[in-house]
């Protein structure tokens, strides 16, 4: 447990994550917090012997508890009592950012303001009077920063620690300075009538001795008047709470008859009034806006005619680059693992005198299983990097703007584009990313459609099959699978939004279009590394375990001569007849599909283990090395292979430029041992039907788990069932239809 906890709050796009990264570096982890099963990013750092935990709260515009993100941020402050909150504000947009800051101050939590992007504000002719801002906010410290350049971070840290010390010395309780005799240093004046009601309620709360646990009674009274459901619920459950609730109801009635409007609208109006006043006093705008870079880029990316084609082109380029540029590295890693690594481990085991079964377990089980997956790391690094660039640069918001009208056909809005696009990386974070969507029904539908976006774990399956069966047209086939996924999402979205999930009239689509920013290397590195690490961790734990279990299932009961007699064969054979009409009714493929439930990439490692782990008749394994080369020869071949892969990648990158093609003279793609094995088992048509099935069938356990956590078991179960039914139907249609047309 850390000695101090400091939370970071702020508007989306205010640079909060950049400051968080600058404060914590790579010492980040996701932590679970008691109460709600919510994962927040945290990072711990020790300064002068004091360990400090930084917690990155979700970016929000307000703490009004309308979206799950806002509730998470607010609850963390109310329930976890951080020692201080750093509120990150965008100086180019101070007024709207202050709205959140003021709400934090009203909660009575010690706050330090990181006035971010001061350099950009200056460039736009905006000058902020820091001293005056601090004075108007009840002497909350203000530290100017420029997170992207790393300026002001050290001072921010020092000032925050000093603030915590000051609060402790003043003896105002652990975290709050307003649950005490004297009023908070900063208050919004809500006008005579509302102030009277607040006074009534907070003295009633104190008279009833509600267990406030350090929560400020003025804040509680305000939230009750604003009618925030979860606060009302919590107070009702307290002893004596109902008396306070009754009082709140009569006060709300009185106020609404005076103002003729909802209380929360009136208070929000007052709060904005206060914020506007502060902003006017501290900001000086010298010159009016001139044509900025953002303006010029937006003219293209949101252009009436070319805006949509640009979106399509960017998506296409990302996936082309990911596939074409990573393929050379994929071959390199493959030869590295099946060559030096496998033969090295093999000779070590021999030298140790390991028994034959242990040798087989390590080489055919672990190396084939885990190694088969690690070959895709280069491709995934590229994919995660591009998604991070799109997000950090601000393009994702434009994608939402451009695609909103289209998303309406499937009953969603533009914001769903972002989680759906993240789904191309991994469905699990994508499901969590739906939390930025305020409306529950929109969130649910988005989450249910995410599995149709081909996640990175499915890419290995596509690549292996496409390279084995479609040769030079492999990337077209892969592209087609991605498109098919999107088409299915549209279809299902269309059906769902007209049947079980009808749109809600009560939500508005309000989207900020932040200025374009150059993503910082550090943040790109952290995003990419986080996701890649998660994948490798998965390969190292879940996939390792599955590989071992699978090896045993393949080799038990002891003494089996063919796989079909093994436990694995028996289970898989049982479900095989169901898959017969789709063209892949063999026990190996059904077994691979079963392990794919745990993680889709396991489809490849299972097949690789089943087909190449044991001798496949008529196929000479390419991996068996000639008389073992010397160590230095191996090192040299690894280095040469890497340089060769880099050169190949560079060539395919240049070849993406229209009119340039450096790939023509390339020889036939060399088959890996797995692809040779696959070619003897599948026809191109049944391979394609199999890929369709892999695209559509039940998402992996982790995704089902995420859907269950966010929306409940019923929705998770229905997602699993309807997707598998759909997958079966589509695969059978493709296979039988293809046969009728003479492709079989």
């Amino acid at each position: 447990m850390a000695d101090l906890t400091i939370a970071l709050a702020g508007n989306p796009n205010a640079g909060k994550s950049t400051i968080f990264n600058a404060l914590t570096g790579l010492r980040q982890h996701t932590g679970n917090w008691p109460g709600k099963t919510v994962e927040l990013k945290a990072g711990t750092r020790t300064i002068d012997g004091v360990s400090i935990q930084f917690v990155d709260l979700p970016g929000t515009y307000s703490l009004a508890a309308y979206s799950p993100d806002e509730i998470v941020a607010r609850d963390f402050i109310v329930k976890e009592h951080p020692n201080a909150v750093i509120c990150v504000m965008d100086s180019t947009n101070l007024e709207r950012n202050l709205y959140l800051g003021v709400q934090l101050l009203e909660m009575g939590v010690p706050m330090v303001i990181a006035l971010n992007m001061v350099d950009q504000a200056l460039a736009r002719g905006i000058e902020v009077d820091f001293g005056q801002l601090s004075r108007l906010l009840g002497n909350a410290p203000v530290v100017p920063t420029s997170a992207s350049r790393g300026e002001g971070i050290d001072r921010l840290l020092k000032v925050t620690i000093q603030t915590i010390k000051d609060v402790k010395e003043a003896g105002n309780g652990p975290a709050y300075n307003c649950h005490c005799e004297k009023p908070a240093a900063f208050q919004v004046n809500y006008g005579k009538e509302i102030e009277a009601a607040i006074g009534q309620l907070s003295s009633s709360a104190e008279a009833q001795q509600l267990p406030l646990n350090g929560t400020c009674s003025r804040w509680l009274a305000l939230k009750l008047l604003e009618g925030e459901d979860d606060v009302v619920e919590e107070v009702s459950a307290m002893p004596g709470g109902l008396t306070v609730i009754d009082k709140a109801h009569s006060e709300i009635k009185r106020l609404e008859s005076i103002y003729g409007d909802d209380v929360d609208i009136i208070t929000a109006d007052h709060r904005y009034g206060t914020v506007s006043g502060i902003s006017r006093q501290v900001c000086r705008q010298a010159t009016p806006d001139h044509k900025t870079l953002t303006e010029r880029i937006d003219r293209l990316t949101t252009h009436r005619l070319i805006g949509l084609p640009i979106f399509m082109l960017i998506m296409y380029l990302v996936f082309r680059i990911v596939i074409d540029v990573s393929t050379p590295y994929l071959d390199w890693v493959d030869s590295l693992i099946n060559g030096p690594v496998a033969s090295g481990l093999s000779s070590i085991l021999m030298a140790l005198g390991a028994s034959e079964w242990l040798h087989s377990l390590v080489i055919d089980g672990i190396v084939a299983g885990v190694g088969g997956i690690l070959t895709f790391v280069p491709g995934l690094i590229a994919l995660f990097l591009f998604l991070a660039i799109l997000e950090d640069s601000g393009y994702m918001a434009r994608a939402a703007f451009v695609m909103d009208r289209f998303m309406r056909y499937i009953g969603l809005h533009g914001k769903s584009v972002i989680p759906l696009m993240l789904g191309f990386g991994c469905a699990v974070p994508a499901v969590y990313a739906t939390r930025t969507i305020a409306n529950h029904r929109n969130r649910l539908l988005t989450a249910l459609l995410i599995p149709f976006m081909s996640c990175s774990a499915r890419l290995p399956v596509y690549v292996v099959f496409a390279l084995a069966f479609f040769g030079t047209r492999a990337s077209t086939v892969i592209w087609l699978l991605y498109v098919l996924g999107v088409v299915f999402a549209i279809l299902i979205g269309f059906i769902f939004s007209r049947t079980v999930l009808k749109p809600d009239e009560n939500s508005a689509f309000v989207l900020e279009l932040p200025p374009y920013r150059r993503p910082t290397m550090k943040s790109l590195a952290i995003h990419t590394w986080d996701n890649t690490r998660e994948f490798i961790k998965n390969a190292g734990t879940v996939i390792l375990a599955i590989s071992i279990i699978l090896w045993f299932l393949l080799n038990l009961p002891w003494g089996v001569t063919t796989q079909e007699e093994s436990y694995f064969g028996q289970v898989s054979t049982a479900i095989t007849p169901a898959l017969e009409p789709a063209g892949f009714g063999s026990y190996e493929t059904s077994g691979a599909l079963i392990t794919g439930l745990i993680a889709k990439e396991l489809v490849v490692s299972t097949l690789s283990q089943v087909y190449t782990g044991t001798e496949v008749e008529g196929v000479t394994p390419t991996t068996t090395e000639a008389p073992s080369p010397s160590f230095s020869d191996q090192v040299a071949s690894i280095v040469v292979g890497f340089l060769q892969a880099t050169a190949d990648a560079a060539r395919s990158l240049i070849s993406l430029i229209p009119g340039v093609n450096l790939l023509d003279e390339e020889g036939p793609i060399e088959d890996t041992s797995l692809s040779q094995a696959l070619q003897t088992r599948f026809s191109p048509l049944s391979a394609f039907a199999f890929l369709i099935f892999v695209l559509l069938y039940i998402p992996c356990m982790a995704t089902i788990g995420a859907i269950k956590e966010e929306f409940g078991g019923r929705w998770a179960a229905s997602a699993a069932i309807y997707q598998t039914a759909l997958a079966w139907l589509a695969a059978v249609l493709v296979f039988q239809g293809g046969r009728l047309l003479g492709f079989g």
């Binding site: 309308y66 709207r96 932040p514």
Partner: protein, 92 residues
């Protein structure tokens, strides 16, 4: 030359009726409570000046500038905001 179907720009109108390049003052924010509150939080408050920037390629949503930042609203939502157009000598 004036045409009869041109909207009278001197009277209050829904925000969705404005064209790119036009400017207006917000008079009233309507809609259901959560929607209104979201509008308020994003700075769409009474008395604020709003500028229509551009329309998305598919005709909806529309990008606006308010309080010095850019945000986009669907036409249906913008229709809940009543504005008074500001006349400028040279529009554009």
């Amino acid at each position: 030359m004036k045409r009869s179907h041109i909207i009278d720009m001197t009277k209050p109108m829904p925000l969705s009726h404005l064209k790119p390049g036009q400017r207006a003052t917000i008079l009233r924010v309507g809609g259901h409570r959560p929607v209104r509150r979201r509008f308020l939080e994003m700075g769409l408050v009474r008395g604020e000046t709003i500028f229509v920037k551009r329309v998305a390629p598919l005709g909806d949503p529309v990008e606006y500038v308010v309080k010095g930042y850019n945000l986009s609203l669907r036409r249906a939502d913008a229709g809940r905001i009543l504005v008074q157009p500001i006349h400028e000598e040279q529009s554009g």
